[in-house]
Amino acid sequence: MSYEIAVLTSMSIAILFALSLNLITGFCGQVSLGHAAFYGIGAYVAAMLTKADLALPIALIPAAVMAGLVGVLVGIASLRVRHDFLAITTMGVGFLFVGIVRKQDALGGEIGISGIPSVAFGRPGLLLLALVCMVLFILLSIYIRRSWLGFAFESISDDEDTARTFGIDVSKFKLLAFVVGTAGAGIAGGLYAHHIRFIGPDSFGFVESITVLAMVIVGGIGSIAGVAVAAAVLATLPLWLQFVDDYKLLIYGSLIFITMRFAPTGIAGIVHTLWQKRQAK
């Protein structure tokens, strides 16, 4: 039973993390290769606070706020760059995070933080909390998609210069996508820290940024259901297959490449096409 709980917790956290990137990259069209930095910020903030006896559900709030604040700063710095340059800028932010944390003794430096306390009601309690956060983020994503905010994001993702000719203040909308997406990653990170109960700078490096990007791309950029399914599957693969864990960067990198090359709309796109064929019959 405890194994199943652990797997489900991993899945919920991964879905939340992937959907948070989906909001930035999928909805609003802003590529990020450094999303793990915000996951890391949330993890460190939440871990420090629960070690100081704060309850996790409350500690998740400052974790989200801190990740979101840094997200806005990165967003402001990235407003002028697009596409490939944005990818490189955000990748830089990812490395910067790891580099800074390594040198902070208060954050455990190279060694990281261990002995992160367990949550009230133990593992089932954490699973419940992760599920609640995941479901809330799914609902938020669905709502945004239907609202005019989602419509504005779609236009920015398609062509931001044309979006401006509708009177849309593109910068403000992009920043909002960054805030909500990075705050979501912060919550996912806080949950992750209490799931693993040990974190170090390398838990939030380039590999993790690529992993979460693979979830979004393989699932189908922008598709809530597709990304959730891809996140659930990709999060559990390393648990079942040891070699996936050993060759993460290689495997997730290949998945991104193969999807982009042969099925750019991902799982969601493939399912959609099959469904249309069935209907046509």
Binding site: Y143, I144, R146, S147, W148, L149, F151, A152, E154, S155, S157, D158, D159, D161, T162, R164, T165, F166, G167, I168, D169, V170, K172, F173, L176
Partner: protein
């Protein structure tokens, strides 16, 4: 006071003086034709008026406000809209949603307001009417990649209209249309002028411009050549010279 007043604007791209000290005014409830040979700087003027490029000299005033330093989105909010020479449809949206997005622009003035608004049916109804109005209501649900260029050009006119502009800028809306289509669309453009809406029409189809515009502005080689009543412009030797000069060069 004119609705739009462009004063003495100049812009230089690298070594090219695309626009040199040009002044131009559009009055309330006016349909002003804007003609000139290829490379005269017509599109550049439109981009200056919209704020897509900043002139190195001169000013742009609209509705009595100096908007020279304003961003594109703020000019749109103040009442400018354009349909560009090179079409810019949003490829991931249907023609209907391309127009609906513009029709609901007021819901997207800021992200919070956009977040709180969910209903798209009113904007879609408006979009449907506008697409009917420009004569392509039968392809509402097609994507831009599935229809001919002429349809996209009309969709973009509908999309600009959806913003309810006080001044509509059209850059060669008739390009790529056959004679009857061009005539129909020209009539439609003429009908767009109302007490609360003026149109600045850039066109190479001088016949249609002369037919529907009572006044025409002519630009050549980045400079103002003349602005006068259509029949006087059409009769002028300078105009013929400008268009013939193109071949001489």
């Amino acid at each position: 006071m004119s609705l739009l007043e462009v004063q003495n604007v100049s812009i230089r791209f690298g070594g090219v003086d695309a626009v040199r000290g040009v002044s131009l005014a559009v009055e309330e409830q006016q349909l002003l034709g804007f003609i000139g040979p290829n490379g005269a700087g017509k599109t550049t003027m439109m981009r200056i008026i919209m704020g897509m490029v900043r002139p190195q000299q001169g000013s742009v005033e609209f509705r009595g406000k100096d908007i020279t330093q304003w961003s594109v989105q703020h000019r749109v909010q103040l009442g400018l809209a354009l349909a560009q020479q090179i079409v810019k449809p949003l490829h991931s949206l249907t023609l209907l949603d391309n127009v609906a997005l513009a029709a609901g622009a007021r819901h997207m003035r800021n992200p919070l307001q956009a977040f709180l608004n969910v209903d798209r049916s009113e904007a879609r109804d408006q979009a449907r009417n506008l697409l009917d109005f420009v004569g392509i209501g039968n392809v509402n649900n097609a994507f831009p990649s599935e229809v001919p260029l002429g349809f996209i050009k009309r969709m973009e006119v509908a999309r600009a209209l959806a913003l309810e502009p006080g001044l509509l800028l059209l850059d060669e809306p008739l390009a790529g249309l056959n004679q009857t289509e061009a005539r129909d669309l020209a009539d439609l453009i003429a009908s767009l002028v109302t007490p609360s809406r003026s149109v600045l029409l850039i066109e190479h189809n001088i016949g249609e411009v002369a037919r529907i515009c009572s006044e025409i502005y002519v630009q050549e080689n980045g400079q103002r050549l003349m602005q006068d009543k259509a029949e006087r412009v059409m009769a002028s030797a300078a105009l013929r010279q400008a268009y013939l000069g193109e071949h001489k060069a």
